[in-house]
């Protein structure tokens, strides 16, 4: 079964450092997402990406965050100048097509990258 791959599985960083989280979406998927989950809380939408540009972003996704698809396979989330409150699990997800919320347009999630900011 195709899967979304995320690296690293766990990253520890010092406050103020930059972090890049990497994702390899399923190969024929066109829509890509990043979500965040602080320990014990719900899954929060950060950003969606389609056709090499941001489609939607939440109020969490401010100038500290950026996303990029540097090549045909990777999808990255960069967090600049990390803060203690950025500690969380970050999930990448992808889905096949661009239209609607039906049928095959379900999200497949990666296993997540745990970010710990000290």
């Amino acid at each position: 079964e195709p899967e979304v791959t995320q690296t690293p599985s766990h990253q520890v960083t010092q406050m103020g450092q930059e972090v890049i989280l990497r994702c390899v979406p399923i190969s024929n998927h066109l829509y890509f997402y990043w979500y965040r989950q602080i320990l014990g809380q719900k899954v929060e939408f950060l950003v969606s990406f389609y056709n090499n540009e941001i489609s939607e972003k939440s109020e969490i996704f401010d100038d500290q965050f950026s996303v990029e698809r540097p090549d045909g396979s990777n999808f990255t989330l960069k967090i600049r100048s990390t803060k203690l409150e950025d500690s969380a699990m970050y999930f990448c997800a992808s889905r096949p097509t661009s239209g609607g919320t039906s049928g095959a347009n379900v999200l497949t999630f990666g296993a997540g990258s745990r970010l710990t900011v000290l």
Binding site: Y31, K42, E44, S102, F109
Partner: protein, 109 residues
């Protein structure tokens, strides 16, 4: 964006049927209803999706009444391994699929 509402937590014994209901008061005409399951330290996993009436797969059944303002996820004969958080997705644009608070299901012997 139409936010969903579901119970915060539920408890069940192994072998029982569990029904988790979600309200979709502002669901749009063309929105589907989608449920995900999340185990600790894992990403959410798609369980089931439906538009109306009843949908069944190898994991669960989904019941959607005619007015589509609610949905019920039914897990037959739960086991300890069904302990997880169950989310019904907020409906809205496909480019901004958001999760509600989820229902934390605890299954015990």
């Amino acid at each position: 964006l139409a936010k969903t509402t579901q119970p915060i937590s539920m408890d069940s014994y192994e072998g029982q049927e569990v029904n988790i209901t979600c309200s979709h008061n502002n669901i749009a005409t063309n929105d589907y209803i989608t449920w995900y399951q999340q185990f600790p330290s894992q990403g959410p996993r798609f369980i089931i999706q439906g538009y109306k009436t009843k949908v069944t797969n190898e994991v669960a059944s989904l019941f959607i009444p005619a007015d589509r303002k609610s949905s019920t996820l039914s897990l037959p004969r739960v086991s300890l391994s069904d302990t997880a958080v169950y989310y019904c997705l907020n409906t809205g644009t496909a480019s901004k699929l958001t999760f509600g608070t989820g229902t934390r299901l605890q299954v015990t012997l």
